[in-house]
């Protein structure tokens, strides 16, 4: 019936939309369907939006490295304040490397890399990318100086100032990338805007904690372990809240390539957090076994952060490429508004 009915309703071949709904059902048959398959019309199933031209690994890598850098700068400042030189060195080196590479990734993804400095031509709060460019141009030098002074032992006062500066800017570097994605028409990114910053800072804390568990001296890594655990809980909670709130637009986070990345992230995060927690208890003999468990857990936490960023990135692309995620929520909004308008009109009607 569908062919004639579709034509009767004036629908051009909406093949991809229907196909999208079907593949979602097939893949999730074992699990409870979250929303009924959506009826919608489209222009030959073509997307309404032009999908982002951003590419992996540049952009998801940039999201991950920003979180790793921001979290590491906080650990570095805390390590300096509490006298943990080993932790401080690892965190500062991690922050500087992550900040530097993220800058390279950002420039590399430009259509005209030689015009990178045009980013600093204006400052616009309406553009998270402009805000981020200015943030990074303060943060990356600070993190670099902090690492250089820590590793060479020279200019300790300059190093302390740079460490403080990087720690002040770090949380912003870790979280602004959520607004960068959300401030678009891409449904899976835009609709998740209240939770995405918490997913990203949680993920950043997890990665930074993981790095220090992996590389810092065992005797000094306890705060890194705490931060990683807090980060894992924050990321997981915020992500779950987002998925539950955004309805059918959450589908791209479950299926296809994005779904695979998200699931890998969740499993690695849970394993890494469990391992990290165990490595801090007397359940294991101190020394080698605990150190190995801490290092493996740290690596898993870093992997979890990477996988989550890749998952969020690809979910956005998928939601932009399928007209369903643009048309269905907007159509529903119009229907609800029309219904609200009629119910508002009712009291104005004369009684009787």
């Amino acid at each position: 019936m569908s062919a004639t009915k579709a034509a009767g309703r004036g629908r051009p071949v909406a093949a991809s939309g229907v196909h999208g709904a079907r593949s979602w059902r097939r893949k999730r048959r074992a699990e409870q369907a979250m929303v009924p398959p959506a009826e919608f019309r489209s222009y030959y199933g073509k997307p309404v939006l032009n999908p982002p031209v951003w590419t992996a690994p540049d952009i998801p890598g940039y999201l991950f490295l920003g979180g790793l850098a921001g979290g590491s700068s906080l650990l570095a400042a805390g390590a300096d304040l509490t006298g943990r030189p080993g932790l401080s060195r690892v965190a500062k080196a991690g922050a500087a490397a992550a900040g530097g590479v993220s800058m390279i990734a950002l420039v590399h993804d430009l259509g005209r890399p030689t015009r990178f400095l045009n980013m600093l031509r204006v400052f616009k709060v309406t553009s998270p990318m402009s805000v981020g460019s200015w943030l990074l141009s303060g943060y990356v030098p600070a993190a670099g100086v902090a690492a250089a002074t820590a590793l060479t032992g020279r200019l300790p006062r300059v190093g302390a100032a740079a460490t403080a500066g990087a720690a002040l800017l770090g949380p912003a570097v870790a979280s602004y990338t959520a607004a960068l994605l959300s401030d678009t028409a891409v449904p899976a990114w835009h609709d998740g805007y209240p939770e995405l910053p918490f997913v990203f800072t949680g993920s950043g804390a997890m990665a930074a904690g993981g790095l220090c568990l992996l590389a810092a001296p065992a005797g000094e890594s306890a705060p890194a372990r705490h931060l990683a655990l807090l980060g894992q809980v924050m990321e997981m909670t915020a992500f779950e809240r987002m998925i539950r709130r955004i309805g059918m637009v959450a589908e791209p986070y479950h299926v296809g390539r994005a779904g695979t990345y998200v699931r890998i992230g969740q499993v690695l995060g849970a394993l890494g957090a469990t391992g990290a927690a165990l490595s801090g208890t007397p359940a294991l003999p101190a020394g080698q076994p605990r150190r190995i468990l801490a290092a493996v857990s740290g690596a898993a936490l870093i992997g979890a952060s990477v996988a989550t960023r890749w998952g969020v990135f690809h979910a956005g692309l998928a939601s932009a490429k399928d007209p369903k995620y643009t048309v269905v929520p907007q159509r529903r909004r119009l229907t609800e508004r029309a219904a609200a308008a009629t119910s508002h009109q009712a009291p104005h009607m004369p009684p009787g």
Partner: protein, 291 residues
Amino acid sequence: MTAIDVQISKRPDGMDSYPGGQQRMGFFTDTSVCIGCKACEVACKEWNHVPEDGLALTGMSYDNSVGLGADTWRHVAFIEQHKPVPADGTQDGGLRWLMSSDVCKHCTHAACLDVCPTGALMRSEFGTVVVQEDICNGCGYCIPACPYGVIDQRKEDGRAWKCTLCYDRLGAGMEPACAKACPTDSIQFGPLDELRERAEIRVDQLHEAGEASARLYGNDPADGIGGDGAFFLLLDEPEVYGLPPDPVVTTRDLPSMWRHVGAAALTLAAAAAASFATEALAGRLGPGARR
């Protein structure tokens, strides 16, 4: 502070007026008289030196340019519909053919312009939205920001391109190439307030003639993007033409986004502080405790 912060004063009638007292100019595309000749597509390409972007046959009726992009600034959509044949059998076949020439909407609240980090996208004195190609660094942010899927990146060039509403022709007092080439006046160019009045009259005319499905799209200054500078008369739901049914400028939520980003940043800083504080407390409480 920035290129977009020019003083935009409100006229008493609520319409925007632009620096120099220039009226806001736009397009009214009346799809009910579009014959699908694609003269607009060709005129646009010719005048603006837009490169060739593929000559493949898509099988989507007569549409082989598929949608708006870096190298397609006017796009004619072709929709074939089977309408029920009237009982008296006066109409043959029952086929309805919708044709519509799509273009950049030159939004009142333009997301592409808002998110552009270089200021390459700007508002012209005609109220149109234009990319300055000598400034664009190809960051690509405008592309997913556009709720209509208009602007895109030219691969071989790296920069973002879209309709300029023939900024050069407007400056010389001429109408845009597509409107000039349109043989049926489906594409009408003029001051936006005038076009809106004309469109209201036209839609009433069509309703009186029995075409109940006629509706205006993008004409309402109270909609999610503050009204389009280029708006349409359609004969079916917008999504049938590949247009979003209820577009909202993404930056409308940006203040809230920044608040959430700030809260998340503070939470991260607090989590780090707590991570060290826990350890300090544990160290004090238990002699010989960890660390």
